[in-house]
Symmetry: D2
Subunit: 301 residues, 4 copies
């Protein structure tokens, strides 16, 4: 991470001046506010603002259920009930705003989550910094031989060295030329909106990203998952750590029902019931394809 001394001072200044509010306050989230949590070699996530807490979820649900929720006697039980039964609107009542610095190829994947508000640094208007993501040696993985969109073993030796050398030298040369094209010394200088096209996808950009808790959980389920690309997963994990401190009850329910849960098809249910009845079921006899069966065995053995 590369915050300047000036930026760090601004953050400390913002943190030094609490003000009174009548709104719901999450002590756990206040501790995170403005602080940059480093991600990858130059990136970070910072919580810039938030709205609501666990109680706000319950409060909204109780409007939608009126005075009738006698059976679910406490907040935790109600939150778990809502999560289990896919109620989305009470979780939408919490909102968080993040400042994120991230490589462009990560941003391209991230932005596919459409139900969020985004303000990105404009390379049409401003000049990007010379900061590129270069994978750490232990992340320099070969193409997976079993998964078309995954990684296999870590590269080593000369191959790893060659890759790192290419990534670094190409990034620097592209940036040198970016600066050379923009320069107005002794020449007119190319328009910024054109010069940016020379920059590779591992350059860092930054944005403000605002999302409600329901949609954030959806993001985390897909991006903090083991199948997500490492470079976006570490962002999801850093965010998840903040969410856990912000809305601990909702996060615990999310972990149990979403991150730690599985969805079974009708066919998978039938196989499990046969197994529970003592039967040994083979793939050919399951109605599942080989791929489904492999995934099924991954969970159930």
């Amino acid at each position: 991470m590369s915050l300047t001394q000036e930026q760090l001072s601004e953050i400390e200044a913002a943190r030094s001046t609490p003000r009174p509010t009548l709104r719901a306050v999450s002590e756990g989230m206040e501790a995170h506010l403005y602080r940059a949590h480093p991600v990858l070699d130059h990136g970070f996530i910072r919580v810039v603002d938030y709205m609501g807490d666990d109680a706000a979820i319950v409060q909204a649900a109780r409007v939608s259920y009126g005075a009738g929720t006698k059976h679910v006697s406490n907040d935790e039980g109600l939150i778990r009930y809502l999560m289990r039964h896919w109620h989305s609107t009470p979780f939408e009542m919490c909102e968080v705003k993040l400042h994120v610095k991230l490589p462009v190829f990560v941003a391209r994947q991230w932005i596919r989550h459409r139900t969020a508000n985004v303000n990105e640094y404009s390379a049409r208007y401003s000049i990007l910094d010379r900061e590129f993501y270069i994978p750490a040696p232990e992340q320099l993985a070969a193409q997976s031989t079993v998964n078309n969109q995954g990684r296999g073993e870590v590269l080593t030796g000369a191959e790893a060295a060659r890759v790192l050398e290419m990534l670094k030298s190409d990034a620097n040369r592209s940036y040198d030329h970016y600066e050379a094209m923009l320069s107005q010394e002794g020449q007119q200088g190319l328009a910024r909106e054109l010069a940016r096209m020379n920059l590779p996808a591992n350059i860092y950009t930054q944005w403000y990203w605002k999302v409600d808790l329901h949609n954030l959980f959806h993001f985390l389920r897909l991006r903090a998952d083991a199948h997500a690309q490492y470079e976006i997963r570490v962002y999801a994990e850093a965010i998840a750590a903040c969410v856990k401190d912000w809305v601990p009850l909702a996060f615990a329910a999310f972990e149990d029902y979403r991150m730690g849960g599985v969805t079974l098809s009708g066919k998978a249910i039938a196989v499990l019931k046969r197994r529970l009845a003592g039967e040994v079921v083979a793939q050919e006899d399951s109605g599942m394809s080989k791929g489904e069966w492999r995934e099924f065995e991954g969970v159930w053995g």
Copy 2:
């Protein structure tokens, strides 16, 4: 408005315990928090939470513009620029959550604004109160003879009395029968999800409604407009009064460019230019239909 003494006490309790926060605080909005602003005969709007202020709009826009915004030297100028050029994302960085009590026929119109989060009191789960909107005498208007979806003169005398009598007696009879169908005394009692179908559209419901400032401005432009039905317009006006205290710079820009602005078609621009050049232009000669011309003259004479 009909808040119970208990509800009023809860509101005062919530207002009596400020807590420190490091987040952006809007003093203007803090003064509104939790307080019920009466609307119609039994309705209200209450601000339950908010995120951001005028500075948050500028902050988000400055990320998207980076360090380059030297020319627009102050917040007000930048906010006006953003509004004038239809930039929506910086305004999306502010969020507000309202508790609203409103007649069902107003709720049906309101819900058509889809980019918001809603938790409504469930008449499937709970029993609705005996509260109906009965128009004040000065709102009891005849069908407009020029506008298919508008009002004309106020009804008076026997006709007005007949209408009020029908609205009141039908509301009460429907509610009596609602209670009679639900009752479990000496009978099983009809399911709530069925009994509710007997209730007319002027019964009050309530919901939590959360929306970002950009989409709220869109709502206000359509619903605080003179062409909106009176019964939703008064809600929009009550909300607008809070927004003005929350983000005064953004609201002033909204008033100038949206509420007080007009959109001219290419044909209308051409007519105005001819007028500015001294020409007298008639409808037949304007390229506009009679309806368009009438609306054009409504603004320009």
Copy 3:
């Protein structure tokens, strides 16, 4: 259902004139076009237009996967893979437009699905017909004693008769007064936008509703479910029957993974694994609440 002879003639006319197109055509859906499928006592759903078919889902997914999808060798396998792994965007590539006639209280529930396009008949602009939903005797159920938002036994005898009488007479009286207030004979006539407030929630309205297949599946999962209120479930089932003919492969995957599937929490997985290992697990020992355990046993015994 109450289509006039004129409306039926219009439908037959629309069906009698096929025209050539170069677009994807679903024979199964062509057979449904424009025809009204009756739902409840006066309602219907009609497919008015559609875009795409099973092949369109595959085609869109193959762009997102490029030339690499060698392992999933056929359309059915790919569609099942996409459904299993929660890929939503390929299913968004199909779209359907329906004309629906439905009671207002059903419409109020339906509209909560925000990711769809809607044009509703306006009672501000036009006069509603005298058509009300009156439950069939076998749907006149008591409030459930175990589920706060469900139905129990069917009412019978005098209680059922009283309920039906109240629903019918209140509907008719409300409509009589609606007409009386609107009438311009010997009086001015109340504005339509006001008179409509006297009508109960079982009056029929109608709308055009357009939605993509991914969001339609989400709607069907929630509304064709056994826990959905009967009066919306029958609409979902009528739509599902059309979808099955439109995109048979996608619908079969939806049935297996969504309608026929279950989601297990981390705790439920642990219990099942202990059971598979021969252990007998009790609720107290499961980490689940009583409510969760009851639902768990509902599936697994």
Copy 4:
């Protein structure tokens, strides 16, 4: 544009087999189906599917207006009325699906329009082609001296030659290294999801993009505008040409009210009225900032 002979044959095959349908057909759009309209040096847009036509807009609006639309006697008048009064839902009833090939830096701007469905070619799963956008000499513009996010004069001579040389050589070197890192000859080969980070933003990607007509008009208003970057504007213009043939009445209204229209603030209205009354108004006396005044004079002189 660089379609292979095989791709061209596929397109011609798809165009050679019309099938009967009962749906609304737009002859103008049928002529475009599947054909690639070239954009920039290697890009294109192709209409892959569509739903609805001008009549579908009217049909949906008439449901929302019922039988009352006697005053607007024809389709064109109604469509113009809907556009003038910002009615969005009837235009949402038409839908179009496009296959687009475009540089990554254009895709990054395009994707900010969130209300659309997208399936993009995955460089995590597949290997991108060696195709880069290199601006034509007349597009090689200097940074604007008056507009922070615009272009000024066209570069010439040695500076232009240097820029082109840098763009071309960097693109080719990056791609050579991309291939070298991926290669499995004599080495393991880097994972595709990592190797892609070396590619610059002018490489071409492709996607399926599906959007409704209302949101497409919004996209066209912003991106076919003179202030949009040239490289996205040419895509918007190519799409607009297809839309004009698809829904000619709606497109004509869009051109008059949106593309050819202007929005006036309350302050601008006041100035125009004073001018119409013969007064000469100066900026200092207008209530507008210098920037607003410059824009105002750009339209009104």
